[in-house]
Symmetry: C2
Subunit: 396 residues, 2 copies
Amino acid sequence: MFDNPIFIPGPTNVPERVRRAMNVPMEDQRSPNFPKLTLPIFEDLKRVFKTETGKVFLYPGSGTGAWEAAVTNTLSPGDKVLISRFGQFSHLWGDLLVRHGMDVIALDVEWGEGVPLEDYARILNEDSNHEIKGVFACQNETATGVTSDIAGVRKALDDAGHPAMLYVDGVSSIGSIDFRMDEWGVDLAVSGSQKGFMMPTGLAVLGVSQKAIEASESATCNRCFFSFDDMIKTNKDGYFPYTPATTLLYGLRESLDMIFEEGLENVFARHHRMAEGVRRAVIDGWGLKLAATEPKWYSDTVSAIYVPEGFDAVAVLRIAYERYGLSYGAGLSKVAGKVFRIGHLGRISEIQLLGGIAGAEMAMRDIGIDVQAGSGVAAASEYYRQTAAPIAIAAE
Amino acid sequence: MFDNPIFIPGPTNVPERVRRAMNVPMEDQRSPNFPKLTLPIFEDLKRVFKTETGKVFLYPGSGTGAWEAAVTNTLSPGDKVLISRFGQFSHLWGDLLVRHGMDVIALDVEWGEGVPLEDYARILNEDSNHEIKGVFACQNETATGVTSDIAGVRKALDDAGHPAMLYVDGVSSIGSIDFRMDEWGVDLAVSGSQKGFMMPTGLAVLGVSQKAIEASESATCNRCFFSFDDMIKTNKDGYFPYTPATTLLYGLRESLDMIFEEGLENVFARHHRMAEGVRRAVIDGWGLKLAATEPKWYSDTVSAIYVPEGFDAVAVLRIAYERYGLSYGAGLSKVAGKVFRIGHLGRISEIQLLGGIAGAEMAMRDIGIDVQAGSGVAAASEYYRQTAAPIAIAAE
């Protein structure tokens, strides 16, 4: 198998710098020097989450772990919560809420759309007794490539004068798409190491507001591994309540350095540009449809692409993998067999993406889908060429 | 800082082979090839746990995560459980039980001793209504270097005809000290990646019996991230309920290969030999006392060493770290300042250990402790020499 990049929406391609940074011997996580590694990481994570007043916790775990940490620390069994479901991951978060005993109001939205702001506004307005304790929103639904308007959710809460906490799944957005924890009044911000942080899987990353920390003092869900209290007590001195995933902390140090060297806003702009090229390939080049039904939902980290009626997206994936050594994201649950997904987040270049677009073209043509050879690459590459950083090009 | 090995009782020194094995690019954890990595790992872990009928689950997490997984999947709030506490880690597990709402019978035992078999036998015999649902035992208390007799706990259960499940913390024993999940009827066997598995921190490893799986079907503790049910459904095909820590899986593949190339029983014998050398240094060389009060409690993975009355073990640790670049384990909680610990588990050689023993001698002498220079090294090295594999040595 050749060393092709992967085009799944996470884990993303780990930069060589980060891989080298993680190749370290083990050390004592209780040593006097350990906080020199950890304390600056905690501060820099706050810059990525755009919070000055909150905290960011790191657990050995996955995004699912961060979901669970957010819920079990701040809510009590029987609490009423509001969530909307429009893809595999918003569904799974809703399922986790049920399993932890919450009284869940789940709004089922067409897959391809995002958080229904008017419905949220209406329900929050009607909830004059403030029975709803938590409002849940998936900023970027990885299954469909849909980005929702979190500022809009905050506005719905504020307009209703509603005190519920705001929980945001930013697993496939934070570090790639603008996220403003303080400005949007996000109380729990869920992320993981394997997306915008350009790291291997293994770290759950959770932003927590002061309001959430206060809520944790009276919330009665049982928890221990994910306890905020234990984290707060030990993190303040640069330590952890149990052995942390040390190699990943070194990788995170390096990936944070890369993010700030490039500039966080530049990282977002790059993600937008990479994504827009892929969308040009899909829509203008291939004449296919994205799962995201309208431009306002387009995700800058992942595009879910419908294969034409009568074709099986699983066959595209299988051929791409077996014949060309390429991994795209599969369609999950309701859209299994209908879509395949191109991840364009983390450290990925236009040149790598053009290879991925070309591979998708080949696999689609192999099963008889009528896309023109080179059409996606042409559409994307023209866009990339037009938007590349200007440098002097000799006329002759 | 020189590249000294660490002498803490985990994380242990990661062998070069394992470090190289983990330096891999990310891949699709849903690809058709992924089970070729994972399914043999599941089988080989069962060989390490010595179970044919049980399963071994891997979570992104730590030992604490595996503790929580064991408890929340198999018990219900209010269940009566029996635990004995004789060190930081058995205390913390007991604390976790309280936090998850269990009705905990906690037997406080002198630190330096292990599971009190007679007390367990008596309590289990008296519990004729079988109200106790879980019996908890720490096979190796890392804080004091005490190994308990798990076969003895099983015998106490059997003699009483008691059906409670048996929960064993084997974090710092499994893969280093003999552990027999099936033979001893262990239902939940807790471990982590960073001890006998010679890996970085980041994986919770949990052995689960069929009886435990059946119990999980009616246990009512809320859980999602650690759910056995989700693991069983996805593991059977070589996948996971959420993104696994892929790099660590590659490291685990390599470390399992190393364990089986050496032979599991040889690994145990090597640990015993390394440990015995350290004990000779402590007792015969330095004339100091181990925290373990009797030879039957001696741990083959970690030795906790009392500094003489009037001296501060923290000073030994500080000097060792700052002056000689050495990390030993600190005394925790009740024995803070009184003991320091030498970890001798995972991939560590007699030569490395002799360096660690020499460094401890120097640091102790630096603060005025009356140990003779070279005395520990002499006692340990004579033992290592006598027990080294026989090879031809020229007479002249």
